[in-house]
């Protein structure tokens, strides 16, 4: 709560933290409406049917919720990395590796007591994702290679590993589609409310939000993480072991993406299946930025994307694929507007600062009064 209430205290913080994202989302929805108009659809009925399909009844809400979970989990991981000024572009690959490891745990470890299986699978997914994230972290820390490129390249390596297992060792004979056999019920996350598809993965997502907030705000690790993100050189001078922190942070970031993949596999799909993440890892970057890296902001942003995805199915359109397409357009536009909005605000702040520096020459004693802007 600390950083959130502090965020509210200051006008500029308020504008940056809430106003810009909200205005951006509204603008994005307006833009999408215009696009819908141009292709001959009525945006009002379209949005109404989307709203209905995403929040209209308990089933719809649960559908929105399960579409929110993997996106949110991956976004949390990405946000942690960005806090340390690390750009984990490869969450998508970590999702695949995590989901695959979770499936592996289910397939390989059948002797565990029933409720333990999905839990172990999620842990396995987290560990696998952590390893996949730690590789770019290690290369960045010890070889000076940008984590942007390596994490991105590893996405496709990860997807091919999944593909290999689905078409090789884990292939189901005579099946036409690359997927494992459906898991036994005991291996899946239980559905919480009958008649809906809301599963226990939501507890994982809620726990992840709480844990991250606590980790970043209340622990020594979080303090050092934020220092690293603010100034790497100064962090080294302050005695932080920068290289170790980089590897650890990227591993943690990958772990969340891996858990996202695992939850998708043992919670929603109930088996490992080709293309089980249709770009969650990339959308998560947009969610992290749209949510301004804040836990609550990211929940809101992920919920928006989940609702768009769920609601897209309610659009009266002729072909498959449109729902996710409209989500991507809305997602891309809203984050695009945020980028531009933040850029415009930064430039204005810089100009104001320059003017201030000039006027300071005239005013002599500035040190006597308390000064400063509240940190976020």
């Amino acid at each position: 709560m600390g950083s959130f209430s502090r965020l509210m205290q200051h006008r500029r913080g308020l504008a940056e933290g809430i106003l810009v994202p909200v205005v951006s989302v509204v603008l994005a929805l307006v833009t999408v409406a215009i696009i819908l108009l141009m292709v001959g659809a009525n945006p009002l009925t379209a949005y109404a049917s989307m709203l209905d399909a995403s929040f209209g009844d308990p089933y719809a809400v649960s559908n929105t919720a399960i579409k929110t979970m993997p996106r949110l989990l991956a976004a949390i991981g990405i946000a942690i990395a960005i806090r340390a000024n690390l750009w984990n572009i490869g969450a998508e690959g970590q999702i695949y590796i995590g989901g695959t490891a979770a499936a592996g745990a289910v397939l390989v470890l059948p002797v565990l007591p029933a409720p333990m299986v999905p839990l172990v699978a999620i842990v396995a997914g987290g560990i696998a994702g952590a390893v996949w994230g730690a590789i770019p972290g290690f290369l960045r820390a010890y070889r000076g290679i940008s984590e942007v490129i390596t994490s991105l390249m590893l996405v496709y390596v990860g997807i091919q590993i999944t593909q290999y297992l689905l078409e090789g060792p884990w292939a189901v004979p005579l099946s036409t589609f690359p997927a494992t056999a459906p898991f036994e019920p005991y291996a899946k996350l239980p559905v919480l409310i009958p008649g809906t598809i809301l599963n226990a993965g939501i507890f994982v997502a809620i726990a992840a939000v709480a844990v991250t907030w606590f980790l970043v705000d209340r622990t020594r690790f979080g303090l050092e993480l934020r220092a690293l993100g603010g100034n790497e050189t100064a962090s080294a001078y302050l005695g932080i072991r920068v290289k170790g922190m980089i590897v650890l942070t990227m591993a943690l970031s990958g772990a969340f993406a891996g858990i996202a993949g695992a939850v998708e596999v043992v919670g929603i799909r109930g088996r490992l299946i080709e293309g089980f993440s249709p770009g969650f890892g990339f959308e998560a970057i947009a969610i992290a930025l749209l949510g301004r890296l804040h836990p609550i902001g990211m929940v809101a942003a992920a919920l928006l994307f989940g609702a768009l995805d769920a609601g897209g199915a309610g659009l009266q359109t002729s072909a498959r694929g449109v729902s996710s397409a409209i989500v991507m357009v809305a997602a891309g536009l809203s984050v695009g507007y945020v980028l531009i909005g933040m850029g415009a605000m930064d430039r204005r702040a810089k100009r104001r600062k320059a003017r201030l520096a000039l006027s300071r020459v005239d005013r002599q004693d500035t040190a006597a009064t308390p000064e400063g802007k509240v940190a976020r």
């Binding site: 209340r218 302050l238 040190a367 400063g372």
Partner: protein, 510 residues
């Protein structure tokens, strides 16, 4: 000046005044330059040499005063204007593209003077000019593959190719080996004989006396005077540079009784640096409890790197650092902090603190692992809050609250945060580098008070500054660095800034 010297100066900078936020960099400074003359501009760091030259080169615009070439006032808005009038500037950081060849750099530079040449023509141009002045610059070599000396020549060629009549060289020999320096001197003499007028910015007394025809001395933004090199001596120049001080001993803080056993011992320390400036060679020193050891030297003499190596931020290439007898050379920064070392980094913005963190977070980072402030990695917020409140009060940080972003504070307050962070854990060794740089008067006084208080409490303090007055006022002993080596250690009591100035300028004293 050559015997057939023209009677009228080629270039005149007349009554130049330029102020930056908080400082007057140049105050009614006038200087002139004749064709075929080498005119050295001498002064301590911050004396205003670079500002004056930046104005002549169009990098900065004067608040008042004007630059005239052949009697005509120049409107210099950018280096492009200066270049088109035949004024060239060889800066300390060369403006060459390292991944291009010398000839390609030449082509780029020329094409912006409106002369469109091909790479082939550029190669010819480099070859011809290089032959004319005996420079030996290979036109097809990548700039990054050249030695610093050759890069400097390539930079000179670039200016000459644009028919520079006025050349400004900013501390050209500071990056060169003695051999290369000698060759550069020869080259400059030849260029002058060719009718080029040269401004040579330097702080090396011996060098300017050897090469220059006339020498102008700046001090604190004012022109102290211009003398003919023939009539000047190292002593007279040092006097002009550092001020009214003479042979009379300076009144210092007074010699203090100190412990017999040093707290920190540095043995034959060598440290590598990214550039040649700043390397440390074979430095040994002892730091006693309850003393301030001033570290003098022009900027880039290795003081920053030496202190960083002692603090653990920079790797030791050779030698050892002992704290209370134990070798600490391979300990991490945090381990050294735990053993009582505090470090005030030279570059406050780049390395001193984290601007995006709150004042409270900045204060607590180094000690967050202490049992007092965290348990099992979880921060104890109450204890931290108390500690931060106390530190803000004790160190007089003027801030609206502990959650204020440190980057939004004024420089003086930022440095108070740094000092509070480092001193509040009661270190036994303080390594301070340029701690008062860029601060207002009140903040400087506050820094001095803190340093004295630490010394009185028994800490061993190493205090580097480029300001001799500050060092003399604060130190018990002063170690002078010159190009990464110890030029001498003198007692502050009885030290004269003349003597220090000579040591800093590389004069060997007996």
């Amino acid at each position: 000046m050559p015997d057939d010297a023209p009677t009228r100066p080629m270039l005149v900078a007349d009554q130049i005044t330029k102020s930056y936020p908080g400082v007057v960099a140049n105050h009614e400074v006038s200087i002139d330059l004749y064709a075929g003359e080498i005119h050295a501009v001498l002064g301590e760091n911050g004396a205003g040499k670079t500002t004056l030259m930046a104005i002549i080169y169009g990098l900065a615009r004067p608040d008042s005063g004007e630059v005239r070439l052949d009697g005509t006032p120049l409107a210099l808005h950018s280096p492009k204007d200066a270049l088109s009038h035949g004024i060239g500037f060889v800066q300390q950081h060369f403006s060459l593209i390292p991944t291009l060849t010398v000839a390609q750099n030449m082509v780029l530079s020329l094409s912006n003077s409106g002369e469109k040449v091909s790479v082939g023509e550029g190669t010819e141009r480099v070859r011809a000019l290089s032959a004319r002045y005996g420079l030996d610059v290979p036109p097809e070599a990548l700039v990054s593959s050249l030695s610093v000396g050759l890069q400097q020549r390539a930079e000179l060629l670039k200016a000459l190719a644009r028919n520079a009549r006025v050349l400004i060289l900013d501390e050209p020999t500071s990056v060169l080996t003695p051999q290369e320096s000698a060759e550069l001197s020869d080259l400059l003499t030849r260029l002058a004989a060719d009718g080029v007028g040269i401004f040579l910015i330097s702080h090396k007394l011996e060098e300017v006396l050897r090469i220059a025809d006339r020498i102008s001395v700046l001090r604190r933004g004012r022109m102290i005077g211009t003398v003919a090199a023939k009539t000047a001596t190292q002593r007279s120049l040092a006097e002009m540079m550092v001020g009214e001080l003479s042979d009379a001993p300076v009144v210092s803080a007074g010699h203090r009784p100190r412990s017999e056993t040093p707290r920190l011992v540095v043995e034959n320390l060598s440290v590598r640096s990214e550039s040649k400036r700043g390397e440390v060679h074979d430095v040994s020193l002892e730091l006693f409890p309850g003393e301030v050891l001033g570290i003098a030297g022009v900027e880039g003499s290795g003081q920053v790197e030496m202190l960083e190596a002692m603090a653990g931020v920079r790797q030791v290439t050779h030698g050892r650092i002992r704290l209370d007898g134990d070798d600490i050379s391979s300990l991490t920064v945090r381990q050294r902090q735990r053993r009582g070392i505090a470090h005030i980094a030279a570059d406050r913005h780049a390395a001193g603190f984290v601007a995006s963190l709150s004042v409270a977070d900045n204060l607590v980072v180094p000690v967050a692992g202490d049992r007092r402030f965290s348990q099992g990695g979880i921060l104890r917020r109450g204890a931290i809050r108390d500690f931060v409140k106390q530190a803000i009060e004790d160190f007089d940080i003027r801030v609206a609250g502990p959650d204020v972003e440190a980057g939004t504070l004024s420089g003086g307050n930022q440095q108070r945060v740094v000092i509070a962070r480092e001193f509040s854990r009661q270190p036994s060794v303080v390594l301070s580098c340029f701690a008062t740089r860029g601060l207002d008067f009140a903040s400087i006084v506050a820094v001095h008070e803190r340093v004295r208080a630490m010394r009185d409490a028994g800490a061993a303090v190493a205090y580097a500054s480029v300001d001799l007055d500050e060092l003399i006022a604060l130190s018990d002993r002063i170690l002078v660095l010159y190009q990464g080596r110890v030029a001498g250690i003198v007692d502050a009591e009885g030290a004269t800034s003349e003597r220090l100035g000579l040591l800093m300028g590389g004069s060997v004293l007996t």
